[in-house]
Amino acid sequence: MSTSDRMTRELIEAIANVVIAHVNELTELDRAIGDADHGVNLERGFKAVLQRMDTIAVMPLGKGLSEVGMTLIRFVGGASGPLYGKLFVVIGKHVDEAGVVCRDTLVKAGEDAIRVLMALGRSDVGKKTMLDVLVPVLDELRFVHGTDALPQIRRRAHSAAQATVPMVARTGRAAFLGERSQGHMDPGARSSELILSAVCNYLESRPGANL
């Protein structure tokens, strides 16, 4: 098994496991301002990913990530399926075309993915969604460097998710609640933070990790 094969399996398993481990927390966040299905929906999707792991693990990283995206689109069953699905498909496509994972590739992939998500979800930053984590993290990614890069990205993801607590939802089902959506963290922002942290943790566990 080559390094890239191992990375495909290890990185994707790390992401899937962290989401599955937080299913109750995500569902509770969604119960407060949505329809209480974010955790169980993502769990269904990532369990389907784990079931296909033997097929996915032999793919190069980019193709593997795209396959994760296609699986989420098919199995999640809520709006988070197409949204996270597209995120993985687009990032996978960029990684596959570039052949390497470097900062330039990730920034381009992130920009492209965020554009797609804004169009698909008809949303933008400041509306209490996953974009309120993804966009600040992309900004961070442009400038961080050296050994503190990954911890810094993780901190930014965390503070950005926290920053959705006082926001009023302007999109998705939480928008029905208007002002009442204040005081709760957005479940999509939290799941984005969890996934980004899992990626940072995994990359840190590899020797010589930096950006």
Binding site: D37, R44, R74, G77, G78
Partner: protein
């Protein structure tokens, strides 16, 4: 080839989708190609891209298909299903921004008179007041 625009009803709840479809059938009989789906891939409340794709095949008409949705994921997943269609078919499917039950009945009534896709969509969307 079906001569009328098809209707696909997508709800988080299979009961809602089937109920709306029953009302449409009673209104317009077999004049309009019709399919419904509801529930996530495990059978709970939610929607499924695969099921929407199948419903699009069932209700396919070369004059086009309108998809009636209830909320959130039903719309996003419908757009995903449309995106997976071949280019030629993709341009003939629209997601309709209308209340699912009344909108389905209005769209089907319009379709049963032989109206084109855009007119069928508008008949349903007029149920929502203009913003």
């Amino acid at each position: 080839m079906n001569r009328n625009v098809g209707i696909v009803i997508v709800s988080h709840s299979p009961d809602v989708a089937k109920g709306a479809a029953d009302m449409v059938r009673q209104m317009v009989g077999k004049e309009v190609p019709l399919a419904w789906c509801g529930g996530n891939p495990d059978g709970g409340l939610g929607t499924s891209v695969d099921a929407i794709e199948k419903a699009l095949q069932t209700a396919w008409s070369d004059r086009g298909v309108v998809i009636m949705v209830d909320m959130g994921g039903a719309e996003t997943n419908s757009e995903m299903a449309i995106e997976r269609l071949p280019d030629k078919k993709r341009a003939k499917v629209v997601v309709c921004n209308a209340p699912i039950v009344e909108g389905s009945v209005m769209a089907a009534t319009e379709s049963s008179g032989g109206s084109p896709l855009e007119k069928v969509r508008r008949a349903a969307e007029e149920l929502y007041p203009r913003m």
